[in-house]
Symmetry: C2
Subunit: 307 residues, 2 copies
């Protein structure tokens, strides 16, 4: 039997991310005891039935009692108020972390509430699916994915290293990163792709010349991939864009600049430019496959290729 990294872990928020943390903890005895809390009574009931927490509490304050690690797993906009609520009840010496997709804002809103003697170590597991809620979690979500750790100044190395050990035991790799750089990287690999997918699906939904039935029937020609990403949790993503405004708008500017350049190549009939562009983009795909970050099976394995 493995030794727990933290004796008592409190999960605040019981969605896909927290559920997967709990299941991964159980897989390898990473936590001695897991207590959970969610604002919605329905989520708490579901979690009790699913059984991934040892105790489901009816308040955040109750959940963090005696906890050695407190994980804020709520939408980014809810982190600050939650931190303020639990702050007076945190055990001296405990670690508070979060799983937010944006780091600069979370640090600004959470850090001021953290009492002396408690350490806040922001983190961001770069993993997820299009499903949300307590029943969406599973133990292997973090296997071979990356969790970015964004330590704030003055945090003892031992506390940062312990949180890294926690994530390693959940299956993830970790990398330390500065908050602003984190927010820029995430704008590129996550936030802009989501915004574009939402936009593409919104446009298709809104066309008068093409029926929704046609869009659905013929979606396998490329469109359906965007609908998966655009099925992600609306509250989480609203908060991401509201709080990572600067990096999002900067990257959107780059994106539309590039899109206009391609549009111009189409309009002027510049086949050479298009061909060169479409060839260059293949290299990144190869890199992702080599890094074990995606499957090489056709259509992500959806295509049933005969043996």
């Amino acid at each position: 039997m493995s030794t727990p990294v933290y004796e008592k872990v409190a999960l605040l928020g019981l969605g896909l991310i927290a559920g997967s943390i709990a299941w991964a903890c159980r897989r390898d005895d990473v936590a001695g005891e897991i207590r959970g809390y969610a604002r919605s009574a329905e989520s708490r009931d579901k979690t009790r039935k699913l059984g991934f927490c040892d105790v489901v509490c009816d308040s955040a304050v109750e959940a963090v009692q005696d906890a050695d690690l407190v994980v804020l797993a709520v939408p980014v906009g809810a982190m600050g108020p939650l931190a303020r609520e639990i702050a007076p009840h945190l055990k001296p010496g405990c670690t508070v972390t979060d799983v937010g997709s944006v780091k600069r804002t979370v640090i600004e809103e959470v850090a001021p509430h953290i009492p002396e003697g408690v350490h806040f170590v922001p983190a961001h597991p770069m993993a997820g699916t299009e499903h949300s809620g307590p029943d969406a979690g599973f133990a292997s979500l973090y296997d071979n994915r990356w969790c970015l750790i964004v330590p704030t100044p003055g945090t003892p190395e031992a506390d940062v290293a312990r949180l890294e050990a926690f994530w390693h035991r959940l299956g993830a790799n970790t990398e330390r990163m500065e908050a602003d750089h984190h927010d820029l990287v995430c704008a590129v690999v996550s936030h802009i792709p989501h915004l574009i997918a939402y936009t593409m699906v919104g446009v298709a939904d809104d066309l008068s010349k093409v029926s929704e039935k046609e869009v659905i029937k013929f979606s396998a020609a490329g469109f359906r991939d965007f609908t998966r990403i655009a099925a992600s949790d609306p509250t989480m993503w609203r908060d991401v864009f509201l709080t990572n405004k600067e990096a999002t708008i900067e990257m959107l500017g780059r994106f539309t600049e590039e899109l206009f350049a391609l549009q111009r190549a189409i309009r002027t009939g510049d086949g050479e430019q298009l061909h060169a562009y479409f060839t260059r983009t293949r290299a990144i795909r190869r890199g992702i496959l080599q890094a074990g970050q995606d499957t090489d099976k056709p259509d992500f394995g959806r295509a049933k290729v005969d043996p």
Copy 2:
């Protein structure tokens, strides 16, 4: 044993689409004999080894001799010259079809070459993967996908119905559509999604502030889905955009208009608008799942969820 729909089928072009047609023909004896030709000697050699054609010919003219169905399965820009080359050698009464992603241009460039007594029935199977070449094809590619049939005026109903029967036997559903509407529908469900994916990957590749290594490592946060689509065949896609210019540019206009509206909501902090938008887009995903056009497994089934 099933009865072939066509006795002799000639496949011109030996990539993913033609290979999958051949494998699906073999699965259910849909064709009596399959002859194939590709311009590249390497593709012809590969096809000989793979064995999905009964005969691989060294010229298009040889391949179409006595053929009852001739399938033009080359990039859209190559269709016209190919049709001109084979026209004098087509068997009277045979059917010529194509698999091009654009229909108005293909009809304009192919139809004038088709001799009296031969019928051209344009078609477009809405299926594919990111892989290309003779070894990318497989028998089930068209199962439960849609093949759009775009009959030209004056084609006898029997010839259109026979091509539909052919596609049904390959596993596909068929729907008849007018050429301009086809090109608009495909701009939405296929061409714009591909252009956007190419753009997103191009932007990420080109950033100086975020390293390519970071983009690759953290790609599971959304970006990697775009890289699959952006790994599609560059020549095919160059031709699609050059030949479906009008519909592409019209839809791009709608897309950027919508993207700017969301960018404005982000800049002004309009959380309500963002939340409403991100909620609305979930409905189309549900429709696609209900129509059996995608898997509901998390992350397209890439996530290994515990039983």
